[in-house]
Assembly symmetry: C2
Amino acid sequence: MMELYDDERIDNLLADASIKIIQSPSVFSFSLDAVLLANFTNVPVKRGAILDLCTGNGAIPLLLSKRTNATITGVEIQERIVGMARRNVAMNDLTCQINLIHGDLKEMGAVLGHSGFDVVTCNPPYFRTPSAREQNHNDYLTIARHEVLCTLEDVVQACKLHAKPGGKVAMVHRPGRLVDIITLFRKYRLEPKRLRFVYPRDGKEANMLLIEAARDGKADLKILPPLYIYQADGSYSKEAEEIIYG
Amino acid sequence: MMELYDDERIDNLLADASIKIIQSPSVFSFSLDAVLLANFTNVPVKRGAILDLCTGNGAIPLLLSKRTNATITGVEIQERIVGMARRNVAMNDLTCQINLIHGDLKEMGAVLGHSGFDVVTCNPPYFRTPSAREQNHNDYLTIARHEVLCTLEDVVQACKLHAKPGGKVAMVHRPGRLVDIITLFRKYRLEPKRLRFVYPRDGKEANMLLIEAARDGKADLKILPPLYIYQADGSYSKEAEEIIYG
């Protein structure tokens, strides 16, 4: 039996119940953002190495394992959360494919070397460091959501360090940070290749973006068709349903 | 009667025939891009000053005149084309509102001073300087479409020079240049505020982008809902029809 803390529960990561995931509303829960990023990312199918930074409870490695035989390494700075990720990997019998590292992404050069991965994914904290008043009093969630322990530039720099030349970097973020993301990607020679905006529904502004860049790639950006999450009646769009139900 | 060269004709600029425009397939014709940019741009209604760089035959000033009493200045480097623009302004009885300048946008600081405009618009050449083999043999069209006489950086620099602090800069361009546009806008302190992608139809990649920035603005970008030009049956979408038919 899997050991669970009082505040944890086991949910389905994909609605088809093929992957189970331990999460906790007060510590860390995966979000639609992770599901969309895992779906958006191009991965090598048969072999290779994938790195997931800010991996949380391991949702992205778990999801990618359905689509690839590549080894997947997840890095998470919060010990309690990396513990959840490790139990998730064990519970889904994926210890041969997924390896979790407890550590700071700014220090992974010493642990993982340079330029070792075909693909680097990241669902980073979205918000700039909050003022004391705005801070979420739950430290687990504050660290996962705010740039308390790493800035966007730290994340981009780590993506560049670990991607092979020509390797891919894929990220999910908020549209309000697009200008920061693009200028930092260029600064670190990660050339954006595919950009997709996620809209809650028709007629609304985008509330999420998915971006894939190639390390040392040449300039050639494609703006993919919009992804709508909901239809006018509040039900999932056909495409969102296919992504979420696996 | 309006004087017309042999290769020129008079068309409706808006389908409601409220604005007429002289154009020439071999010299310069306005495009949907200009119509979309004029529609996208926020303009002051009662007074103010608007500058349109790379104005061509004056389509954007003519279209904006329907929505504002601000004075509008157009700058065009090709003498034959600025001549068309001047006749267009006269033909539509807009000489009191629209002023055309024949000159190089890189030299407009001396002519127009600095920071004089509430809004600067530009539908610039889209393509990098072509190789000799690729060059369009018609010089008028080559200059209008390729970065022969001005680069994207020249255009962005001129936009920044002429916009008031807090003033708006609006541009239409190709998605493949988004990364260049955003990095140059940041370099010249033009902060992107609104970004809209234009898709030929549902399910296709974007083939045009509309971007509005504020000089010295703070970071706060909104990604507007997609604009589709055609429906599945090949007819205009409702929104495109409203824009084109005025």
